[in-house]
Structure formats: C-alpha cells, structure tokens
C-alpha cells in the first residue's frame, strides 16, 4: 500500500510548481505578444487592457469550480496530481473518469504501481487534442478556417464565418442544457439536485442575464455588461443552495 505522504510529497508539489510556472510564463508571453502586435497594427491598446479585466472577472468563478475539482480528486490521488492535471489541458470530467478506469477507493488503499499507472493514463488520454492541434491544426486552418475569414468589412457582412461561429456555440450550449433538462425525467426518483434543480437554475441564470441585459440597455451602464455573466452565474448558484 502507498503512504498518502508519497502522493502529497514535496517533490510532487515541486512538479506542480514547475508546471504552474510554465503556464503562467507562457500565458504572459501570449499577452505581451498580443500587445506588441496590437501596437504594430495601430489598434487601441485600451481594448486589450479591457480584455484583461473582462476575462479575469469572467474566469474567477469558474476557476473556483475547477479548484473544487482538485479538492474532489485529492481524496483519491492526493493534492498535487489533480492540481498538475487541471493546470495543463485538464478537465474535471475527463480526469475523474481516467482515475476511475484504474482505481476506485481511497488513497490509503492504493499501490504505488496504481498511482504511477493513474498518472500515465491521465496524461496519455488527454494528449490527442494537443497532438492533433500540433500536427493537424495548421492544415485545417489553411484548408477551411481561412476561407471563413474576410478582412473587408463589406465582405465580412455576407460571409458565413460569423454564422458558423454562432451556430457552433449554440450547439455546444444546447448539449450542456440537454443533459440538465434530461434530468427532469428523474423527478421523484433522485435527489432534487440530480433531478429538477439544474433546470430551475438554468432558468434563473437565463432570466438574471435577461434582466441585467435590459438594465444595461435602459441605463447605458456598459460597465455592468462586464459583470452580467458572472453575476447571473452567481444568482443561479445561490438559488441552488435554497432549492437543494
């Protein structure tokens, strides 16, 4: 059996810190390069500064949810491994499933070989996206995506690009909502949180967003627009506490 001290050892935290530093420095380089390119083409840098603020506000609450994922997995594989995995190309639904294919139980009953197997499976299984991106994205971009781009405003107005983008996003949201709406079939058979609460939370956050949007339009408070998504999300989340 493996001691929990191994999964939570100092060197595991060191690996996590290195990964963290890589992501932070890489992201900073992307921001610096964008600002340099923005200046080069004469773009108002204020817009990029605003992007930083808008995106930081937007990302805070979902990041807390990802942290909850680290906490959830920490009981099975320790704290550093889920921290590492959710910092680079991780996603909780995948990481949890990957761990489950190798082991189910508590960290105290895991062998060292199971631990290294889990680390290997979690890494290899998530690599297809980055590898395809590395070797296939450029060709895909040149053959397909570049044709949906237009640099002329008039041309853009009648191009399929923006429609394609909106259609893909509507499809993604629909798939997420469908999973929650399908839970309505479980009313009476499962807990409120696993049956009707998700559908109500969807409606509450949907209408919160509608109300905030209306306030922005009526009052002209554009600053509120930056917070509307986060606030609507928060209202939906708080409502779940009272509904559950």
């Amino acid at each position: 059996m493996m001691s929990t001290n191994i999964a939570n050892s100092w060197w595991m935290y060191c690996i996590g810190a290195i990964v963290c530093l890589f992501v932070l420095s890489g992201s900073l380089i992307f921001i610096i390069k964008a600002f340099q390119d923005g200046r080069r083409i004469g773009m108002d840098i204020g817009y990029l500064k605003k992007t930083v603020i808008v995106s930081a506000v937007f990302s805070f609450l979902p990041s807390i949810s990802i942290l909850i994922g680290v906490i959830a997995l920490s009981g099975v594989i320790g704290i550093p491994l889920p921290w590492i995995r959710l910092s680079v190309i991780g996603a909780l639904h995948y990481e949890g499933t990957a761990v489950g294919t190798v082991f189910s139980g508590a960290l105290t009953s895991m062998t060292i070989q199971q631990f290294v197997t889990i680390a290997t499976v979690m890494t290899l299984g998530i690599l297809t996206g980055p590898l395809y991106c590395l070797f296939g994205f450029k060709a895909y971009d040149k053959k397909f995506l570049s044709k949906t781009r237009g640099t002329d405003a008039g041309e853009k107005k009648h191009s399929f690009g923006p429609i394609l983008f909106n259609a893909a996003f509507i499809a993604m949201i629909s798939a997420f909502l469908a999973e929650d709406f399908a839970k309505l079939a479980l009313v009476g058979k499962a807990t409120p949180l696993s049956s009707y609460v998700p559908a109500i939370v969807i409606f509450i956050s949907f209408f919160s967003m509608a109300i905030l949007d209306l306030i922005v339009k009526k009052t002209g408070w554009q600053w509120l627009g930056s917070f509307s998504l986060g606030l609507s999300m928060l209202v939906g989340m708080i409502s779940a506490i009272f509904l559950a």
Partner: protein, 235 residues
C-alpha cells in the same frame, strides 16, 4: 470599436503572413507543453522507481476512447471560436468548453471586435491567456490554502452552489447566444434533449453531433438568404 482597415493591416503585414507567424509560435509553445506533460508521469515513475501497469494503461485507453476521439473533434469544433493563437494556448491549458471558449467569445463581444479579424485574434488570445493565468493562480492559491479552505468549500451548505456552477454558467450563456439567432436554437436543443433521453449520450458525443447538424442547418439558411438577396438584386 472601429475595426482596423484592410489597408492599415496590409501596410504592416498580410493576414496570411501574420497567421503563419501565429502557427509557428503556437507550435513551438505547444511542443514544449507536450514535453512537460509527458515529463510529469516520467518523473513520477523515476522518483518512485516503479513502472506503470501497461496492460491496465491499454485497457484504460480503450475505456477512454470517446475522450481520445473528442480530442480530435475538439480542435475541429472549437478552433473557429478560439482563433489561431488562442487554439494553441487553450489546448495547452485545457478547460476548453467550460471556460476558455466562453471566455474568448465573451471578451470579443464586450470589446466589439469581429470574429476572424486580426483584432479579434488578438482579443481572443489575450482573453485565453488571462483566463489561464487566473485559473493557475486560483488553483495555486487554493492548493496552498487547501487545508483551511476545505471545510468551507466542502460545507454541505455551499456544495449545491458549486455543483451547479457550470449549469448556471450555461443558463446565462444561453440567453446571450440564443437571442442572437433564435431560429438556429430549436433544432440542436430538441435533438440533444431527445438523444440524451433516448440514448444517454454524454456531452462529449452530443457537442460534435449537434455542432455538425447546426452548422449544416445554418449553411442551408445562409444559402437560402443569399439566393433571396440575389434574386431581389436582379429584380
């Protein structure tokens, strides 16, 4: 915001040139990221002087086949939403569907830049990079504070709120994006609910399927509208 004119861009660099540079930069960064990802289990194996159970690894890969396939499909589906640089960075830092894609889209909307323009590309990459920094810092701070924070975050009172975090996020996003093109909404929504109830298919299978159907439907509507405009123009 006012879009940068085509002439101004042409005076500095062409879109193709700019995109080529983006691919080169993105590929170097992603290659380094893949090496670091592979180094993690390697270092763990070396430190613990243990090899993985390769039969178990193979079996797990089979069980995770849908995720292996979705890695490929995710690039096809989300790249149009992320931009070139954004795609490379998002496929390094992960949490695409629940964070990076909505974040990039939200930033472009807030700033008012068009999808597919150089400004859109820049805003998208800054949004994804900022989001990655915030998540990394929150995770790092959380890991440091994990012991004292755990009772609060895992308290039975707050747990329903965090369980519903992504549900609330997509409820709010639904208003924002459904209202833009309401005629596109019923088809994917009904299709996804029907498939979910009938087959129990998860999001990873439903998203690409719904994306293909919705994009095709949008293409048909786009072509019809174009034909209508042309016929009105000829009159």
């Amino acid at each position: 915001m006012t879009n940068i004119t085509n002439d101004k861009i042409e005076n500095t660099f062409s879109y193709e040139e700019y995109n080529e540079l983006n691919h080169r930069f993105g590929r170097i960064f992603l290659s380094m990221a893949v090496c670091i990802m592979l180094l993690v289990p390697t270092v763990i194996c070396l430190a613990l002087k243990e090899t993985p159970d390769f039969i178990q690894v193979g079996q797990s890969m089979l069980a995770l086949i849908i995720f292996l396939a979705s890695g490929f499909v995710e690039v096809i589906t989300y790249a149009p939403l992320l931009g070139t640089r954004g795609t490379y960075l998002a496929f390094t830092t992960g949490n695409l569907v629940n964070l990076k894609v909505p974040c990039a889209v939200n930033a472009r909307d807030q700033i008012g830049v068009e999808h597919g323009s150089i400004e859109g590309e820049l805003v998208s990459s800054v949004a994804i990079a900022t989001s990655s920094i915030v998540t990394t810092l929150v995770l790092a701070a959380g890991v440091i504070l994990l012991t004292p924070l755990t009772p609060v975050l895992e308290s039975p009172v707050l747990s329903p709120a965090f369980e519903m975090a992504f549900t609330a996020l997509f409820g709010a996003l639904a208003y924002k994006y459904f209202m833009r093109d309401l005629k596109l909404v019923p088809l994917p929504l009904i299709l996804c609910i029907a498939l979910q109830v009938a087959t129990g298919l998860g999001k990873s299978a439903l998203i690409p399927l719904a994306a293909v159907v919705t994009v095709l439907f949008a293409w048909v509507l786009f072509k019809r509208s174009q034909a209508k405009h042309e016929s009105q123009g000829s009159i």
